[in-house]
Symmetry: C2
């Protein structure tokens, strides 16, 4: 599916800014490893969500661009670590060999560590015009998201559950919310914070983004079962082979699709009060919805 024009514009701006972001960073080999994964072709979903949320409250998109890029850096850091042999052991990512296949395991580990820290550094270095309170709000949200209550907590649950014969639905849901939902939520919320949204609006967007993020992860797990390498850009059927706990495994593909539809309906309902301003966030929800049905 093609992006609508405003989103294609955002993606182009993000890609341009990302390209120069690591030009002069760290020792050469580390920089190459960081750039290899960061600049690989990607949908830039998280930066785009950040900019879309920002635009609901403010027009000067340049003010949110560093944070949008940082979100992609954090996402990339987590992908590099996820692909490592001790984790998901994925040889491909976004249609190309994964980071450790090109740079070796040690350098891939360090590229992930470096991108994680550099995401935050990048915001701090480009925050001249930002009020300290907004800056601290954004930093706090991003730091929480990569920590034990976010990404690394979700991955740890995932890893731990792989060895188990039975896992309850709440644990699977918690894992998905932390593993994927948290960063999608942070994308929308940091955009809203930077745009100057009220606490009430931030709360509604938080719920929207959390449901959207969970739906997104469930769709990813459905596609791992139903799509092909060419469609998916990485190897398929890996989750089941690794004994991972996913919604499709827990309840079957059809019920997982049903859950996606429910989550998307809830997410979109949260946008009611925003009227036309939220039309692009509605569109984003529809994309996730349609992807599950494909």
């Amino acid at each position: 599916m093609d992006y609508p024009v405003p989103m294609e514009n955002f993606r182009r701006q993000v890609n341009e800014r990302l390209r120069s972001s690591v030009d002069s960073v760290g020792p050469p080999r580390l920089r190459e490893a960081m750039a290899y994964s960061l600049l690989a072709d990607g949908k830039r979903i998280r930066p785009t969500l950040c900019l879309l949320a920002f635009e609901m409250f403010d027009t000067d998109v340049a003010a949110a661009l560093p944070t949008a890029c940082a979100l992609e850096m954090l996402h990339t850091a987590s992908l590099i670590h996820d692909d490592l042999p001790s984790m998901d052991d994925d040889d491909f990512r976004r249609g190309s060999p994964s980071n450790h296949r090109v740079f070796g395991e040690g350098m891939a580990l360090l590229a992930g560590d470096a991108l994680l820290a550099y995401a935050l550094e990048f915001i701090l270095h480009n925050a001249e015009t930002l009020h300290p309170e907004k800056l601290l709000g954004v930093m706090a949200k991003l730091i929480e998201v990569v920590g034990p209550s976010g990404l690394s907590g979700g991955q740890a649950l995932d890893l731990h559950c792989q060895g188990l014969d039975q896992v309850d639905p709440w644990t699977v849901e918690e894992m998905h919310i932390k593993k994927t939902g948290a960063l999608i939520e942070a994308s929308v919320v940091t955009g809203a914070i930077l745009g100057g949204a009220s606490q009430e609006d931030i709360a509604r967007l938080t719920t929207y983004a959390r449901e959207l993020g969970l739906a997104y992860q469930i769709v990813d797990d459905i596609l791992d079962e139903t799509s092909t390498f060419d469609e998916f850009g990485k190897e398929v059927g890996q989750d089941r082979a690794a004994g991972k706990w996913t919604y499709p495994r827990l309840m079957g593909v059809e019920k997982a699709r049903q859950r996606v539809r429910e989550l998307i309906a809830h997410a979109v309902a949260e946008l009611d009060g925003f009227g036309e301003r939220a039309s692009m966030l509605r569109w984003a929800a529809r994309v996730v919805h349609d992807r599950a049905a494909a």
Copy 2:
């Protein structure tokens, strides 16, 4: 060597605060892995340096304790990742099996990631009384230290140089400064920032700490060649076996000791203007000096 009473007090306070710091963090297995390495017996050099620098400018040590603990978390995160098979492949750390030997490689990777983020989260959650400017100053310093111009950059250089037949002394120095010096420097500098030190005082303490940190790493490399497992708490002779570039390899143990003496002399000279206030930082320099001669 025994710690003088004020430093022993600091170490006790840091250990107490660290013990409760991860009580309710993340999923249980991840929490165990984080606590295992964080609460292992350690000298708490970085937190102690932070508190010593703070105390030169302010007496309310409680205000610097969260940052002191965060420094130990960052240090622990880097140790866990360094010990992984794809990096230094160390089976022991602080006299006990290393993190991945107990929790597996995947969980150790995540425990490192989680501690890295949680260090910053811990400061943010305990910053009620802190002025936003001081808070941002401390955060910026710590983020820089773990990123591509700090720890991960130093490790990447280390990894890259292992395959080379010849490395020039400047690269070895750069590697050491980033790998170890940067975090030692940040320990002293964050303490000074929190204490309200002037830019001039911060600059002098930065030089002191950078030289001290480099000396500390050289001593570590000397001990890797000259000490025993019991003295060192981890396997010895590993650097040379792995083809690592260290000062002893570059110039021999005697010249490396000479370099330590020079660095310590420079470091201590930077403290001249502080008079009695800097007596504990002088003591810390002497400890590193004497450790090299042992």
